[in-house]
Amino acid sequence: MSWAWLHRYASPPLFFRIAGRVIPWVSWLAAITGAAGLIGGLGLAPPDYQQGEGYRIIFVHVPAAVLSTMAYGVMAGAAGMGLIWRMNVAHAVAASCASVGAWFTVLALTTGSLWGRPMWGTYWEWDPRLTSELVLLFLYLGYMGLRSAIDDTARADRASAVLVLVGVINLPIIHYSVDWWNSLHQGHTLLKFGKASMPPSMLVPLLLMMLAFLLYFAAIMLTRARGEVLRRERNARWISEAIGALAT
């Protein structure tokens, strides 16, 4: 199999142009699905028979939690591609995932603890999922810390790529060890979103919100990656050509 097509799309000018065309579409789709999901979730879906109206926070919480892990996966994939094929664009994408992913993690933790106050009676519980989410936040912070500590972009790219690959091997181990750790202390019967079957009136808005978050992530990540490519290629001739084409 030839990888030539991959290298073609990884060329900075082409990425810059395609990303620039894709971003408006993705952003509008994110806004539309997000609006539909919010109307469906906050307005149309019936209150839960046990949790009342309070459960509605899952329409933000669950997509944020899903995206926080998914962003790490995208970051690891892009970093691996950058390391193996020495692609500058892949490194730019990886670097752009980190802060978005970290904010999703913060959002998931915050909404989780706001939900925990009325439901569990406490803002913070050393629940396995909460704890592994917190460790994930630390992994993001370590990645960003390492990047900001290295001045040379090429070295920062490759060092942080090694770190994120080490992290991605460790993530399942951390997840299962944390599960195991707390299962010895206490069992939670309340937190079983995944297994509880949902009526379509709740499930459809939730899926819409997940799609909206995913599209939003793509839009923000691509915008940041575009800026990152601009910064890296600031002395290249195609930039002045692209900007010249915009000016005329």
Partner: protein
């Protein structure tokens, strides 16, 4: 690449030579690698001072105190792993020698563990007894710390390689390594707690063993990649 000549050595021989060299260097400067051990003693002393000094109460926090202190002192020791060889160019020579860098770094990790991990393990019975652990718990605590400190040395080597030569290396190293050390901490502290409660410790011990095997397999590769990037 390595050109075969009268003076060429295999990676295995070079690893052994490196072990002997590092050990000899360290034994001439005992103050440096004894510091993490002293730190371990000081940190474990802080726990009785900051909580209830009754032995029966201390026994409850003993696993946590022991493992947090061991983790922090391993972290402190990690800065010694590559710093000097990075500064004087030895690491560069190892990287361009044409020998397997991951193998050589594994040798360095072994020495590092002998000098900073093993003393912790040997000091653990004293500290554990002072924190109220029964004598029958000592073998379990020793085994848990033995496995855990090996894993921490190996995992830490990747972080030490990544932060080699950085200005804010120390604090960053902690931020990189501590989240990755969470499984070691969980299983190690769990095994210690079970040992103190005089219960069978095999389940967390097997997990610790698995982590040691996995990190001994992958961490040298990661550390070699990290060191090569840092030397560029």
């Amino acid at each position: 690449m390595n050109v075969a000549g009268p003076n060429s050595v295999s990676s295995g021989e070079a690893g052994w030579l490196l072990v002997r060299r590092d050990l000899r260097l360290a034994l001439r400067r005992p103050g440096e690698w004894l510091q993490p051990l002293m730190f371990f003693f000081v940190v474990t002393t802080l726990f009785p001072l900051s909580t209830d000094p009754q032995l029966s109460r201390l026994r409850d926090i003993a696993p946590g105190a022991l493992w947090v202190a061991a983790l922090l002192s391993c972290l402190l020791a990690l800065e010694l792993l590559f710093r000097e060889d990075g500064q004087d160019g030895t690491l560069e020579q190892l990287a361009v020698s044409g020998l397997s860098l991951s193998w050589l770094l594994l040798a360095k990790c072994c020495v590092h563990w002998l000098l900073t991990g093993l003393p912790l393990v040997l000091a653990a019975p004293l500290v554990a007894t002072a924190l109220g652990a029964p004598y029958a718990a000592i073998p379990g605590i020793l085994a848990a710390l033995l496995l855990g400190s090996i894993a921490l040395s190996l995992i830490g080597a990747v972080g030490a390689g990544l932060t080699l030569g950085l200005r804010r290396g120390g604090a960053l190293l902690a931020l990189l390594v501590l989240p990755l050390a969470v499984p070691v901490l969980i299983f190690g502290a769990r095994a210690t707690a079970l040992a103190i409660a005089l219960e069978p410790t095999s389940a967390p011990m097997y997990m610790l063993g698995a982590i040691v095997v996995l990190s001994a397999t992958l961490a040298p590769l990661g550390a070699a990649a990290a060191v090569r990037i840092s030397l560029e």
